[in-house]
Symmetry: C3
Subunit: 677 residues, 3 copies
């Protein structure tokens, strides 16, 4: 059993090796002014640590570790394997990836190691062995940070061979493989494992990486393989560290929106703590970040680390306007509200060169502390010092869960279907946003999670239903659970082969429907949808299922109200066993979907954290029975606190006073029931 984090970490990536040692004391003094208590080091130092193969030089790192230890910093120690030294590319060209265009890369950039390179594995493993042996004893190290932001695929010959082996494990026989990929189509039958090619532009791919492919089964399997291959790299490092240190948590930092290349559900079990790098864009609505945090928290159903975030601007998004006064603090606390137990920045000190020299930092190029950005960093440091113990390790309970699944993500976006507008994440977000707006806590979970602990499972576009999942869902509802799903669900098995007998395949019975065919709306077109007898019309788009009710207790909640299928069901409710199941046959607009969700909430008995309508974000963390309400104004305008949170007994632990009735722009209150104070 690993130990947890000793305290709420406040800090982030620090690269003293980019600076003269004479700067370090000053840097630490500045950090302390902001109550920064932690530094992530050694993320990209391989070239310094191993200037020539097998020659290690830890002198500088020793100094850094000593300096930070003396200053009583909690150290997150990275392994430096995410960017390979130039000499390694030269000596072992196979360490570099071959891209989707079929080209072997050379030295440059980062995050570009081939997961099947034996040279990379050998050299990375040896470096990590040296590091772990040397620093395992340092009690200031509170976490090991393996590599960095894994992601991206390789399409080299070594990966091709490894993929063939992976497929042998999965399918055992070529007959199984040919059936799984339906290889009789287009004469794709494989007679020898060695005939299998990687799905890039030279082979079976069609369009840019990550879009439509010819044999989706092959492409989905390739993503699974690459995710697994990367995971084996991670575990190589993890197991090496554990030879020397069995207590300290080991992890890598997840990232992305969500990252399409890595199945984080598959990876989560090998993470001692989930760590996440969060970079919402200026035009991402607040619920987008909220969704990502809930996804991260759901990976292990535990608090996570906010491993990276910017104290001011990033430099690689199209536009990075200044964060408005207090905006940075509010958006960092949003992560905490959703389960983060750390606040860490990339980066603590701004480099003068390289790709990220205009990425924000605690110590900026001006090297001054009388700046707005630094003052906000310091204020947040003081806040966390004050209230960190209140929320650390607190849970974030939810009675509803939204299903997010990487195999579905991949398979759905590889569909060559009746519309080109199939994007997985926005469709999931349609549903997340509804619960967010109703202040109803949700978990974001995977298909292998335990459904029975939830009153409601929301599984939009559950296109791929792997073996057993249909039964699992049916049992859940049979036993009194509530299921909400949509168009494009229940269509294919785990190898992307369509279920025969009518859509939505294994979900047909629990939903009490058969979908005969599906209309695709064209640009500019929407289809009208009506609920009950109401004259109000809502709009459906993307896909419009033609639904037949087949269950004895199935009824339509809404009908189409235009096109030749006007009057046929658009939204359906089915009583199944002790539970209920709903099917939404088209991509409803927000108002229409709101109608569905209100009905579902009502039937399921879910309640929000406020009974009032508000566009404040309200979440809850619970620790030792004590509830904390995080109330965030994530807008540049003031907002009123709902009156049911203004009741006597609430105290804002940030101020120690009763909550203010009006939250200024980007203001935050963390409310605790006063009785425990």
């Amino acid at each position: 059993m690993k130990q947890g984090l000793p305290t709420v970490l406040y800090g982030g990536d620090y690269n003293p090796d980019q600076w003269p040692e004479t700067d370090w004391d000053d840097d630490i003094k500045v950090f302390k002014q902001a109550d920064i208590n932690s530094a992530t080091i050694n993320v990209f130092s391989w070239a310094l640590l191993e200037p020539r193969e097998g020659e290690y030089d830890f002198k500088k790192l020793d100094h850094i570790v000593a300096k930070l230890s003396q200053a009583d910093f909690k150290i997150v120690m990275a392994t430096s394997t995410a960017a390979m030294p130039a000499w390694m590319f030269k000596k072992y060209p196979d360490v570099a990836r071959v891209d989707y265009q079929g080209r072997r890369h050379v030295f440059g950039q980062r995050h570009n190691f081939c997961p099947s390179s034996i040279n990379y594995r050998r050299l990375a493993g040896r470096l990590v062995d040296q590091l772990a042996r040397r620093y395992a004893g340092n009690s200031h190290i509170v976490a090991w940070h393996v590599n960095n932001e894994y992601g991206g695929n390789c399409y080299c010959e070594n990966c091709r061979r490894a993929f063939q082996e992976w497929l042998k494990q999965r399918y055992q026989t070529l007959d199984n493989l040919n059936r799984a990929w339906d290889n009789n189509v287009w004469s794709h039958t494989i007679y020898d494992w060695d005939e299998i090619q990687v799905p890039n532009e030279l082979g079976d791919a069609w369009g840019a990486e990550g879009t439509h492919t010819i044999v989706a089964g092959l492409s989905v399997d390739y993503l699974r393989f690459q995710s697994d291959a990367m995971l084996s790299l991670y575990n190589l490092e993890k197991q090496t560290i554990e030879k020397y240190d069995k207590q300290t948590p080991i992890l890598t930092n997840f990232h992305g929106t969500p990252n399409k290349w890595i199945d984080y559900h598959a990876w989560a079990k090998d993470q001692d703590i989930i760590a996440y790098d969060s970079y919402p864009a200026y035009d991402d609505p607040a619920y987008v970040a909220a969704f990502r945090y809930d996804l991260m928290r759901g990976l292990k159903h535990q608090p996570f680390m906010l491993m990276e975030s910017t104290p001011s601007q990033v430099n690689w998004q199209p536009y990075s306007p200044l964060k408005r006064p207090n905006q940075m603090r509010a958006t960092e606390l949003q992560a905490v509200a959703h389960g983060a137990d750390t606040v860490q920045y990339f980066q603590l000190k701004q480099a003068v060169g390289g790709s990220e020299k205009f990425h924000g930092a605690v110590i900026s190029h001006s090297q001054r502390t009388d700046t707005r950005a630094f003052q906000e960093v310091a204020r947040l440091g003081h806040d966390l010092k004050k209230v960190g113990a209140d929320f650390k390790d607190a849970a974030t309970p939810a009675k509803a869960a939204i299903v997010f699944d990487w195999s579905n993500f991949w398979a759905f976006e590889y569909v060559a279907g009746i519309t080109q507008d199939l994007q997985y994440v926005p469709l999931i977000m349609d549903y997340y946003r509804q619960f967010y707006q109703h202040q109803i806590p949700v978990d974001v979970i995977g298909v292998d999670d335990d459904f029975s602990q939830y009153d409601l499972i929301v599984a939009p576009v559950l296109y791929m239903v792997k073996k057993g999942l249909g039964e699992k869902i049916s049992t859940y509802v049979q036993n009194g659970g509530h299921l909400l799903t949509t168009y494009a669900s229940g269509m294919v098995d785990e190898s992307d082969n369509v279920y025969l007998g009518g859509y939505p395949g294994p979900l047909s019975k629990v939903l009490g429907i058969w979908v005969e065919e599906t209309d695709a709306t064209v640009p500019g077109q929407t289809v009208k949808v009506a609920f009950d007898q109401s004259a109000q019309r809502y709009e459906g788009r993307l896909l419009c299922d033609q639904i037949h009710l087949t269950g004895s207790k199935t009824r339509a909640l809404a009908h189409y109200a235009s096109e030749f299928y006007a009057g046929t069901p658009a939204v359906v409710e089915n009583v199944f066993g002790k539970g209920l199941a709903w099917y939404v046959g088209t991509r409803l607009d927000d108002q229409g979907l709101g109608k569905v969700i209100e009905h579902v909430i009502d039937r399921t008995g879910l309640t929000g954290l406020t009974s009032q309508t508000t566009d404040l974000e309200i979440t809850r963390r619970v620790k030792d029975g004590q509830e904390l309400y995080f109330v965030l104004n994530l807008r540049n305008e003031p907002r009123l606190l709902p009156t049911d949170l203004q009741q006597a007994g609430f105290v804002d632990i940030l101020t120690g006073a009763a909550p203010k009735a009006k939250l200024e722009p980007w203001d935050v209150e963390i409310l605790k029931c006063g009785m425990d104070q």
Copy 2:
């Protein structure tokens, strides 16, 4: 002399090898419910037929053929050479193409064989030999279907060598070649055939494949070469089959809009019947499909096969909305109206995997027949059974012809000219649409067709005028013919060298004009055009020729009415010998072009199939002197039948009754003069 088709075929692509044999009887039973009488088989079975080089396994195909024969199906037997087995790519990498980016491909996709690969030729030839020998005697085989949808170029070293040989045949000497490509420009002189490179991104190309190139003469010749090389593959298979079967028609299936890679005029003479795969997009106006059918019929001036079409949706267009009720039937009968003697679908049964698993089929994933789509398929089957004999082999007479020419298509789109907006097909379509709207039957023909059988030849953007074509056109008009042509005509010879002495080169005399220079309109700009003394103004765009009248009997029908050249001729009429020639100097808007066309119709004496204005589609097929009027409502709204088709004596052969005065959405009437009934 080959035999014709024994009956109107109704059926399409069927892949029983993707299904257990136990399904086959059920499938056939379902097909029979829809009066399906034919199946196209063996299109992509190479990997099953030849699991290892030289080892053939026809057992499954024997069963399929036997089963279909027992059921008295007409079999269209494909040769399976369009998708190569994985082992072939591995053993003979040269069978795969090198792309425009210069990259050799590997196993994957389909339609990707190099036309210059001796291994592909050898292996394809041997497979076809086996097939033809084995099945030549089967009387149920009504056609041999060679390969599938030829198209796409290869840029490999073998193609480079073969191209050099092809050029030697064409030009005999390097002097001729250098002159043809005007190689003194930019120091491109060739001193050895071996110096010649293929025009891809590594060499002379400029921009994406199919767009502008540096030496257009080279690029046009390369397309001619690739079309010829592909044709030689077709003929290799054809001649192999003819060793065993001299009676049954042999063909491949043409496709595209139109397909830019294959000169179908050059290919037509080697097709026993023209076969066409028709997939109009949801937003293609009805005249677009009509044009393509007329083009196909014109290739041999004979009825053609509608070889593929979807019974419901396709899965590879950006958007494939559901066909509205009865829409499928109407659009299939549109092909018949324009000369199709078959109605065939891709596909009869929907695969569970592969790239086209969401492409529509007669038997869909639900495997039910109580579906709207199946019922419409069955209704059309009953219709064809009833009236097929009436239209089979019927001609489609026309007194006007529109010229469509692949060399012009290629050369015109390769022009580096004064505007980037040069696209051949839309400009041809401007003119086709006019005649379509006037219900005037037209043939779409090539430059080598006999012009003398037509009252009017419409040759828009006849940019490339090969040797002899100018004289042929002049003689045609001299003898009383009527010519309508446009801007961008008569500019270059067959090697894309400009005719000196003034545009439109060899057409100058027959048109009585000299074009001094040409304005290019810029985005958002149009130029006003006025006819006679009328105050009405029309709009020209794209190109605006500055025209001088040089003939003694030349006159302007319209003038520009804006820009510095206001008052100069925009549309010209010339009396030449016994005929008339018209020149339209700019891309007129529909109304303006309508003015020109009405004048041309009037002077030429052409008449439409109705004297009334209607947006019903009306065409005519004639057999043994009996006229059939196909009246199609290709809109989702009702339309009135023109009163001149409501006269006594007409019978709708679909119903056996008098025509209805109002056609419901997507309704069809096939009218026959009652006297023959």
Copy 3:
């Protein structure tokens, strides 16, 4: 000391080797009708001159030279090295470039030689040696034209080696190199020169060529290296010619808008005369061409040659509408107004084939002279014959200068910053346009030019401030100079490393400011800006600096008037020594920037060439104390001459009469003070 041009050249590129010799006499006769006195020959004749390696054939060129000499044409003799013969690619594949995608090219196109190919150097050098030896004595040759329009990069292995050598020269040690590129970031430390890779798609690049890169220092150095490598090719040819001819000017032709690949400041010192190819697009405002001419004139502070321009249309821009009547003459004379001492066309005779067959020419495909285009060419020829001696060698004095710097161009567009909209040229143009609109003559100069001769230095987005430049600027202002600069200035050193201590780094003191942070506007957003107490609001966008005033004599001229930083300085004035410095903290709209410029003009004492507001273009050339005012109406509408140019004493030397008060569309007057007449 080289001789100058003997007269104003009127002519251009002529390729008689594309035509039968029998045409030549007729061509020359036509040219003479237009007072054409010069021809540029032999630009792309390598394949004809050297049909096989080492075998030279000058017979045709001898004839051409003789024919033109007999006709007393001034010959611009090109060296033919810009397009390599096909045999050379075949024999020496290394002569061709490797592209940004990492692909070696083959024969095709032009301008595609690798600057590091020893084979190219050897063969080009030997050809030029032959040419120079043979024709050096011909007195009709008035200039040697080396190669053609240098530009474009190579990324081959030979270039990689040469780049490593170039870096050794520049940095001496790897420590210096690693520091210059800040290579500790992302583990990029180089331990062996041989580890250095070229920055293309396979290595460190990010995005398309010329956009953002990972290590900007590397990419900027690579552009410097390629520019230097190309320059060494130029000098190889130049020095070869000078072995035989030390008098005649030698040059190459510059081009582009501006050309991003070549540092023309670095190249200028080796040009005996600057020559420029000018092809403004139809939608380029007139000031764009004016800017480019001023840039060319500023390279040597001498008159330049207008080496190429079109007499009618070009064929490679998206849209090339006809030039309106008299437009061609006006736009050619615009070059003269800005310092051109020649007017030369591409091309004198239009080819029938190749890539530019639809590019305009003096003798067009019609080969007629009764055309509008030819008549305008002839009119201009007569004009130049009449007035050429008046302007030849005249200076173009200016008291203000705008700084344009290639290293800044490169570095600024490689920034990964807080907005993706960083484009160097448009931001420079903002400022040029202001002076243009005020009829204030400006020079466009480089950072190494002598600032002290100017009353005002305008240096917008001076992002990169190399060693010594900050001091040079400070001294200039200290001594009474005036400096105007902007946002995004003073940020990095010559290796793209940020200056620590606060932006704008070495310019902070002269400007009296510190920029704490910078807002990036997002699409659709602008920030309000107010001057003084005025209620008028202007708009800023792109970047909005948060400025602190630090000088004792610093004051704000304008403030932001929206966003949270409303009320803080947006435009600043600083008194520094005897001079003044202004800083504009955001991209102001034209009106707002106009306010700044008017203030600057007022404080600096600059005056325009007219005291009245006009959108005529007015420039001035001065020779022997005599002023010539070029007044150009570059619009398709009439304009009135400012009354202060209508005063007694002015004569239009084109007409010999007093100036007309109204200039018709595209009319031109060249006014000379009558007293000298």
